[in-house]
Symmetry: C2
Subunit: 524 residues, 2 copies
């Protein structure tokens, strides 16, 4: 699903950077899970049955833990695969979006593209614990790449700049400025005489300043921003530093706008991806509880009374009249965007909550190239190039690095108006546009392009958007009502968590929901 980064940068573009931070606060997008192991669902459940709607991570983890506690569990899933937004696209895959356009993937064997979640922060303890328990191998995801680019159409004649040069020059210049203010005693109210000495020393170390506290062209700045002439072996050249970009040019370029992402809690190193694609997580759960899932089952109605719940669903393969499944309780993990379009027997507060929250538009574009030219020619291994073009970013694969042959990169990941604009075109035209835009950063694009896939989340029938867009006001009004048990029905998913848009939120939400459901069952 859409990352917070893209979302926030988009808000920032519209409203300036304070808008960005306010949004971040409002959306509650910050956090380490408070997970302390799977819930202990002790007690006699006396054959109680639960039907789970949706086999995304919330549904799958619910199925796993409820069955373990002794419940009779059935899961209904719209797609023909487990995972929901936890999804990986590979050669041979096919999917159809709203409107009927079907895309067929022709990526080479071993190549893949994660259209939904694609990374797992180190502090998302619940999903990491399940990965460990389910034997899902993880590998580092390269988030920050100092050799990737920062690009603006309006700065440096549209030439992309290496992250390392902008980062070093921004850091060096602000260190020099602060050293100047400090040593001229312009901050004597703020910093004690004793601390001034240490502050200056720290700025010199941290900002690569010379003995006069200047950030200049020398071996110190070179050792941060890289070299104009690279060092060699034997009688080949030694290194020569290049010219730092001046303070004013760095500031006016606005390429500093994305530097903060490196220290953002959810993007800090280390950050992970499953080996082989994000759907390895879904497959790991499905190895345990896949036998409980009825695939191709489109839920059409959720009914409950004092005796139990009745779920109506369409069998998308066999067709025919809607079928029913009955159970004592229902754990519903459908996104609110689709749930709000289904008749649900529930109280007013839950009904209102289901309808209150909107979902963002977002599109991800995966592009296969014949060669990994970004590695062989530009020494970019994983990481992300940021651009003010509508594609917003180019993310290089953190797998298969150094191997010959083709590679698949994320050629665009954008949301909001740009996402609507891109997705208003046919799939081949979206891909062609991503190639056109990306060619302004990588001239090799047109020559090396092979094929592409696009996933506009707002046009995917199961989600109709990427994730729940909470605001502080909406949360105050509806969040508790959304999460509370309503008779025999309880909701779960990233939308019912304080970690919206993250798989961790989906898992924590489900564990909390089933704990409360279980408490009701055993104390009934």
């Amino acid at each position: 699903m859409l990352t917070r980064r893209v979302l926030l940068s988009g808000i920032g573009a519209a409203g300036g950077s304070m808008a960005m931070f306010q949004a971040m606060a409002s959306l509650g997008l910050n956090g380490e899970s408070n997970y302390a192991g799977p819930p202990k669902l002790d007690g006699n459940v006396r054959g109680t049955s639960v039907v789970i709607l949706g086999a995304g991570l919330a549904g799958l983890v619910g199925a796993l833990e409820l069955r373990k506690a002794g419940y009779k569990v059935d899961v209904l899933e719209y797609n023909s695969r487990p995972g929901g937004r936890c999804w990986t696209i590979r050669g041979g895959d096919t999917y159809t979006e709203l409107g009927g356009e079907t895309q067929h993937c022709s990526f080479a064997p071993g190549q893949y593209f994660d259209p939904g979640p694609w990374r797992i922060p180190y502090h998302h303890r619940a999903i990491l614990d399940y990965c460990s328990k389910l034997g899902i191998a993880l590998e580092p995801f390269n988030q920050v790449n100092y050799n990737a680019y920062l690009h603006s159409q309006k700065a440096f004649d549209g030439q992309p700049q290496r992250y390392r040069t902008i980062n070093a020059d921004y850091q060096g210049h602000i260190a020099e400025l602060l050293a100047k203010a400090t040593s001229q005693q312009k901050l004597s109210d703020e910093v004690s005489r004793e601390d001034v000495e240490i502050l200056l020393e720290s700025l010199r170390t941290w900002g690569a300043l010379d003995k006069d506290y200047r950030y200049q062209k020398n071996v110190l700045s070179g050792a941060r921003r890289g070299w104009a002439v690279e060092p060699g072996g034997g009688l080949a050249s030694t290194s020569l530093p290049g010219d730092p970009v001046g303070l004013s040019d760095v500031l006016k370029s606005r390429l500093w706008e994305t530097l903060w992402l490196a220290s953002f809690y959810e993007f800090q190193t280390p950050i992970f991806q499953p080996v082989g694609g994000m759907d390895m997580v879904a497959k790991g759960f499905a190895r345990q509880v896949g036998n409980l899932v009825r695939y191709n089952a489109q839920v059409t109605q959720i009914d409950q009374n004092d005796q139990g719940v009745t779920i109506s669903y369409k069998d998308k393969v066999q067709g025919g009249a809607d079928k029913q499944i009955k159970a004592d309780y229902c754990l519903c993990t459908l996104p609110l965007s689709t749930l709000s379009q289904i008749p649900v027997t529930a109280g007013g507060p839950l009904q209102a909550a289901i309808s209150a929250v909107s979902y963002a538009a977002a599109i991800k574009i995966g592009l296969q190239f014949k060669r990994r030219f970004w590695e062989t020619e530009e020494a970019i291994y994983g990481g992300i190039t940021h651009t003010d073009l509508p594609i917003s970013q180019i993310a290089y694969p953190s797998y298969g690095m150094g191997r010959p042959g083709p590679g698949v990169l994320l050629g665009g990941y954008t949301y909001g108006l740009d996402a609507y604009d891109l997705s208003s075109r046919s799939a081949p035209e979206r891909v062609a546009e991503a190639v056109r835009q990306g060619a302004r950063i990588h001239p090799q694009y047109p020559q090396e392009f092979d094929s592409g896939m696009t996933v506009p989340w707002h046009r995917m029938p199961t989600t109709l958007g990427c994730f729940a867009m909470w605001t502080d006001e909406l949360r105050a009004q509806h969040y508790d009502n959304l999460c509370n048990l309503d008779g025999r029905l309880v909701l779960a998913g990233e939308h019912a968590s304080h970690l919206p848009g993250w798989q961790e939120g989906a898992i924590l939400s489900s564990l909390d929901a089933i704990s409360r459901l279980h408490k009701k069952v055993v104390t009934a």
Copy 2:
């Protein structure tokens, strides 16, 4: 071998941070390789033979390229394995240091420890190219871990602090200070009125400042430094920020001293390690040219005249009188520390160069623990904890993350006086000391410790130190003489490069040396 980081931090500890930077400049430790593919050694070499001394990376790449060019190649190697300092220790391995103490490794299957080089920067193009050509899989090495610790015995009552909190607080405080100086127009000579606006905006974004340009306890700082109360799912808690550390405490703690390493060119993300251990690189070369290597051959004399070279060596397995091997030329990759102890027929300038450069003392300690408690209990996956204890750092493995069972971490990596002090003890005592010190950061150490291995490079018979310690003065006087062909002899290795201590330096040095040797041969 010893990393520059450790070296530099040691120099810094002795002489303050300017000493650190001056050393960095002097040692020429900064660089991207100027590699543009293997050299084209065209022309008829008419059966010319080359004997190569040392099967480290310089020797191996020399053997590979010279044989490809048609030379008759023989390699003599002291050890019973290829790679030299490119070495990985696993369960079952044994080695003996000077003085005769032998260590036997009892690590579990799949666990390893790289006592020499352990990472490959993205800009080391030559070694990356050979890894690609030789089919050596790479994976990311976690250099910076925001959840690892910064530790000082003198700060925070000796309690380790998470990197993310110190990094966020340092960044936040200096952004606030500079915003204050700027908005009070105390830097009007330095920053134009137009740029002031952008600078302030950038500081707010970058430093997590609030609308009044303050760095405070709120969701902005929480989203960098992490949370006091973590966000949950369903009706569990939302997140609450913790208290930032005050400016004065951050400064006095001196924990800012290692923050700059994240943006150091040679430690920037991405940085790599071979899957399975660094010696996969050596083994990759050996698959190609291992048949040319005579192992267990200790070179005792290097002789040359107008007709050719004669190398005397001891067969360490068969024993007996020294053997001789003759060739037209010699590529000598022995470290200067050992080469300077062998009779060499060479001109005065080369003799002087060989004797001029000293090697640093360094020790690395690998510790196996029964469980990966740093992952399961502390959410530390790879990366490095820095401490002012003699062990200097604890580096967590970047492989096998999330797996149950034992793990091997780097429990100490230090040089200079601390290295001499540690290595003056028996191997078991060194390990015990590393466990004692590490327990001040990880209380689980004594309980979970299983076994350890130590490699003091200054006590390893092949190297007598970790890498060549060039200074500007020594380079000016001796470097060209060291690299120039002397009759039929040419030297190569990290010591004959502008990238000392890096495998890239060894490879580039060798490629440059054989290019010049080849030119002499084909134009002779």
